[in-house]
């Protein structure tokens, strides 16, 4: 199974790649967005700013969008989750629009939110297979879907409640960093891969 991690040219992909390299998954880091769409599993990683990442993705947005809409299993992490929405207050550019809605600045506590926070009200098979109650977050922005029925788990920062995990079919977005959430997070990544392989 080929797992493509789309590289916006920003962050550390080592831990994520290691978490994904499991059960015969072949992980490749792909800087070309159109090529990243031609794979078995797509992962949108989580470090950087929306505007910068959207511009790196721009030339392949149509390919990525149609692949993901067509059922390509996709995991978006932090910024990668936000790129699954339409647009962001953080910067210009368009996301994939898999989840109708916008990304807003997190308000209600110290921002950026950095550290271990809750995963509440979990209602997704992925969290049944790989239960997590805390995870590592590092974000200043959060997703606000037009229709909250896609939200499968929540978290709270100060007075703000925000989506921790969203799902649309085989597309998963997580605001936290599973690859930085120690053993339970790595288990979640692997549960996603097992689901994708089915």
């Amino acid at each position: 199974m080929r797992v493509s991690v789309f590289d916006y040219g920003a962050g550390n992909l080592h831990s994520l790649a290691k978490a994904l390299e499991h059960d015969g998954a072949f992980v490749e880091i792909e800087t070309d967005p159109a090529r990243a769409a031609r794979t078995d599993v797509l992962v949108l990683p989580g470090v950087g700013a929306f505007g910068h990442a959207a511009s790196r993705m721009a030339s392949g947005v149509a390919d990525l969008r149609s692949a993901v809409r067509g059922g390509l299993p996709c995991l978006g992490i932090c910024l990668g989750m936000q790129l699954l929405f339409d647009a962001s207050d953080e910067g210009p550019g368009v996301g994939l629009g898999i989840f109708p809605g916008r990304v807003h600045r997190l308000e209600g506590g110290r921002v950026p939110q950095i550290g271990w926070n809750t995963i509440e009200g979990a209602n997704d098979p992925l969290l049944d297979t790989a239960p997590m109650t805390t995870a590592y977050y590092a974000n200043s922005y959060v997703c606000r879907p037009d229709d909250e029925s896609c939200v499968r788990a929540w978290s709270t920062h100060g007075t703000a409640r925000f989506p921790a995990l969203v799902r649309a079919g085989r597309t998963i977005g997580v605001q936290f960093h599973p690859e930085k959430s120690s053993a339970p997070g790595v288990e979640l990544v692997r549960a996603f891969l097992r689901e994708a392989a089915q």
């Binding site: 920003a10 962050g11 550390n12 080592h14 831990s15 790649a17 290691k18 978490a19 470090v47 950087g48 700013a49 910068h52 910024l79 506590g109 110290r110 921002v111 950026p112 939110q113 950095i114 550290g115 271990w116 926070n117 809750t118 109650t133 805390t134 590592y136 590092a138 974000n139 200043s140 709270t156 920062h157 960093h177 690859e179 930085k180 959430s181 120690s182 053993a183 997070g185 790595v186």
Partner: protein, 255 residues
């Protein structure tokens, strides 16, 4: 609600973990990759590698250590020491850092914080501040170059400036307490926490689990940096977190 964090710091020099007292008298305490992963298993919430005597050669070594660590560590890794530009930040992130701490270079040129935050987001830009108490009043002076150079900056004011330039976190070290194991500087920590709206990691002076509890509770720190007492096995991350949980502080439970 965010959990309070126990951050384990490893001073890395020439590819080995060393521990100094008040920034001098270094001694070897082990292999960075082995120690980092061991602390993760014990329940550390984050690891910081500080390359306290960064030179061009050491930076190469450091990046190699970071890459090997990132492949085995599944909690956040912060890299600091010798970071001078947004390009250095890019390199550190590339090699496996999740966050980068910037100290002397920010004092020389605060724009380095803004440039890094614009490219990578402020969540990965940590302003590291080494502060030393001056006189009897609650005033602290910023020092750079591993505590060797006194600046004209007031630590609390400087923390505010760093945040205004895009720092997403403050790593605050008391030079007076570093390595003394007499407890964190609570007044310094409280003053900086009150002055900024980003997380503050208190550092310098941990002598026991109770000291960690104190700086998170009375000191209002979001996180506490611990080093020597763990490397010497005076206490464990697990024992610290058990104490924190027993006193009602929110911490990440580790099985």
């Amino acid at each position: 609600m965010l959990a309070r964090r126990v951050v384990v710091c490893l001073d890395v020099q020439g590819g080995r973990v060393v521990k100094g007292e008040q920034f001098v008298q270094l001694r070897d305490v082990g292999d960075p990759v082995e120690l980092a992963t061991r602390y993760e298993r014990e329940g550390a919430d984050e690891i910081v590698f500080l390359d306290i005597l960064a030179t061009a050669d050491d930076q190469e070594t450091m990046l190699d250590v970071a890459r090997r660590t990132a492949e085995r560590l599944f909690i956040p890794l912060t890299l600091g020491g010798g970071i001078r530009s947004a390009d250095d930040v890019a390199l550190a992130l590339r090699f496996g850092a999740d966050k980068v701490s910037i100290n002397s270079a920010a004092v020389s040129r605060p724009a380095v914080l803004a440039e890094s935050a614009a490219r990578f987001g402020s969540q990965c830009v940590v302003a590291s501040i080494d502060a030393k108490r001056e006189g009897e009043a609650e005033r602290w002076r910023v020092y750079t170059r591993g505590g060797r150079t006194r600046t004209e900056l007031d630590a609390v004011e400087w923390a505010r400036t760093c945040v205004a330039h895009g720092a997403g976190e403050i790593l605050l070290t008391s030079i007076d307490r570093d390595g003394t194991r007499t407890g964190y500087d609570l007044e310094l920590t409280r003053a900086v926490v009150a002055a900024v709206d980003v997380p503050v990691v208190a550092s310098g002076g941990a002598g026991s689990a109770a000291d960690v509890q104190e700086v998170l509770d009375d000191g209002h720190a979001d996180a506490a940096l611990v080093a020597g007492i763990l490397h010497d096995e005076q206490t464990t991350v697990r024992a610290i977190k058990q104490l924190l949980a027993s006193t009602g502080l929110p911490v990440r439970a580790v099985s």
